[in-house]
Point group: C2
Chain length 420, copies 2
């Protein structure tokens, strides 16, 4: 029986052209983040299924690729549910594994600990164009830093990286879970309905103010609260400057919003704007929700005009590590949408800069042994001098072979014939 | 319920210290292989379970982590066997996925195609010290090159890489499946028992000549054949020079060994010895078997005195791609034992060369906003100049914090106090 040539459904092979760009982007990311003091770490691609099903992962927990138990532990005959036959699962993000990693290794890590993770994650989403079931994530996180220095460093490191990859005129949209809560409380929504309200608010960029109003009404929320809530958002329109926007909102919300939240956001904005390297705008967005329920403070998102949706995001999640250790540790992270960045670069015809010269040596069949060593020695010399040298036999269809090599960027093609 | 802090059984977290060495080694590997014209590619970590169970993977097929079907496709109640409940599996090597990749993408690839793969593989081995169930493999393969230029390039590229990582005085041990077969045929073993004979021969380095003789006898093979076979190996002892060893053996085996095999091995040895960059010996080893049944020609292995076992290996497998396409394509590959290399470097106290200077800025709590921006601006300047700068809040236990930073290699620690 012939074997399947295609990758598994929803995943993809990565060909040399794309791979070259990926490698370049990974290097820029690593070098830039390293200059900010982030150190690379890695966790296994699998985690215990209980860790992945602890409600930290939100909707992603429905999309886990689960790993079958092995040997004696597997008993298909008596199995009632999935949990009887699986023990591990593929990670769906890098945040839950990082929290486990930190809990396991904190004694051997500095404080604060600045982690860089680049690794694949898996989600059993319905396959669709441009969205794959295995994809690379690229996260930086600062663990053990309670102050807003974490947010400042994360935003500077991420934007500096994007700038060095050639992106400009993008936005970092920022908000705070405590602002979201204060706005909902001020409007009179009961506290136990906040999450439901935020899920609807999260659709603002798709359905607009009127759509949000309609969905809140459908949700059975009091008309008065809805009107008060929407009026707040209406009055915020155009107030994208962080200091101005936050100050205005603080005036409206009064005692519903802690003074500390306002001061911290203003400090983040002032410091980032004074010291940023990349060209971007830091923007206050009170409609920004970020799906994951684990966020506890600041949240942020990268918005690029060239690309419809978000190109990454993050925030503060001070309560997650406590789920592993019983003791909370302040934590804040920022994730770059690696696959979207690659897509944007591929679509823009991006060329990796500073590639070494490429030479191809084509050798006729039955080329004599003693002369072959001379050709290879010449190749070795060029390689040592930094060139990229392909040594290959001449194909029967040499013309086609040379055309293909030229298309691949081989500038010089030397031919070696027996008669020479 | 508290979550598990440990990684899943048999897999490991990789901490900053090891990660730094891994990143360095990966870069040396990528840069060196690139200079030989190898281009990086990637395949998904999962493959269809049928592709992984096609007898190409030998013993590794018993160690597959299998992935549970999802949604409607999963029916636990009617399931009889594992195959009813799984559709994908984690790859156990990079060779089977490469053959699938090539079959799927050959039209968009050059000929010959020189592939570099660095990626994790998974094997559900019994967990044991120093051996993990997720580990990195690093393979180069040349597809579409029938001549021994493939072997020459693979050996030169691999050994140059090892040399640049600081390894010397290692061996590349080489043999040919057709020599193995000729020796068995010459000794009078029936052809359908060759594989059984080779499995026993493969234990030579562990049990010695006498042990091999005993096991062959236990296997019921004719005494005369066993004696003739062992006499051949005895007469080969000390004949490690490839040209001398192969010539001697050719004389003994007569018409059992094709002239082409001898000539090709000699040519590989002459060319490699004339042009190699690293310090190593190419050695003929007629007892070298290499487990995988897919090898069809040359086989080779890296032996390091510092490390008991093999540190990598490879060979020619001209019949595998035909299993996917129906048309055979010449193929030859060499895999570096990445995890063993890392272990050797870690144990030898290896230091990554040329690390950038590391500075730490510690800032007192409640440091005024306008001055904070100045400190961050200074950090940004140093980062741009190539330094690695950590900006962090002073911990309550500052002395301990500074000791830890110093241990991490921060040469300079600047402190910023409110009163300054």
């Amino acid at each position: 029986m012939a074997l399947a040539k295609k990758p598994v459904n929803g995943m993809k092979d990565i060909l040399p052209e794309e791979m070259q760009i990926r490698d370049y982007v990974m290097n820029v990311i690593k070098e830039t983040y390293r200059s900010f003091g982030f150190t690379p770490i890695e966790t296994p691609c699998m985690e215990n299924i209980a860790n992945l099903s602890s409600k930290q992962g939100g909707e992603n927990e429905k999309l886990i690729f689960k790993v079958l138990k092995r040997g004696e532990k597997l008993n298909l005959e008596t199995a009632q549910t999935e949990l009887d036959v699986v023990d591990f699962g593929m990670r769906y993000d890098l945040t839950v594994p990082l929290a486990r990693f930190y809990s396991n290794n904190a004694n051997n890590l500095p404080s604060p600990f600045k982690a860089l993770q680049m690794g694949n994650v898996w989600r059993a989403d319905r396959p669709q164009r441009g969205r794959y079931r295995q994809f690379m994530q690229c996260d930086i996180d600062i663990l053990g830093e309670p102050s807003n220095l974490a947010e400042i460093e994360l935003i500077l490191a991420t934007t500096t990286t994007l700038g060095r990859l050639g992106f400009k005129n993008f936005q970092i949209r920022i908000n705070e879970r405590r602002i979201l809560k204060a706005m909902a409380a001020y409007s009179g929504f009961p506290e136990d309905s906040f999450d439901a309200v935020f899920i609807i608010l999260d659709k603002m960029d798709k359905i607009g103010l009127a759509g949000v109003a309609a969905e809140l009404e459908k949700g059975g929320f009091p008309k008065e609260s809805i009107e008060k809530y929407l009026e707040l958002f209406r009055s915020m329109e155009g107030k994208e400057d962080v200091a101005a926007g936050v100050s205005y909102l603080a005036g409206q919300l009064g005692e519903f919003l802690e003074e500390e939240v306002t001061a911290s956001l203003k400090e983040i904005a002032a410091c980032v704007n004074d010291t940023k390297e990349a060209e971007f705008d830091l923007v206050f967005d009170p409609t920004l929700v970020r799906g994951m329920s684990y966020y506890t403070g600041t949240i942020f998102e990268i918005a690029m005009p060239e690309f419809g949706g978000s190109c990454g995001g993050g925030g503060r999640y001070d309560k997650m590590i406590g789920k592993f250790t019983g003791n909370d540790v302040p934590a804040c992270g920022f994730s770059i949408g690696f696959e979207r960045i690659i897509l944007l670069l591929l679509e823009s015809g991006f060329q990796v800069p500073g590639q070494p010269g490429k030479l191809a040596y084509l050798i006729e069949k039955n080329y004599p042994e003693e002369k072959l060593a001379q050709v290879v020695a010449e190749a070795q010399k060029e390689r040592k001098a930094g060139k990229q040298v392909l040594v290959a036999r001449m194909n029967k269809n040499k013309k086609f072979q040379k055309e293909k090599l030229a298309a691949e960027g081989y500038e010089e093609i030397k031919e070696f014939f027996n008669r020479d």
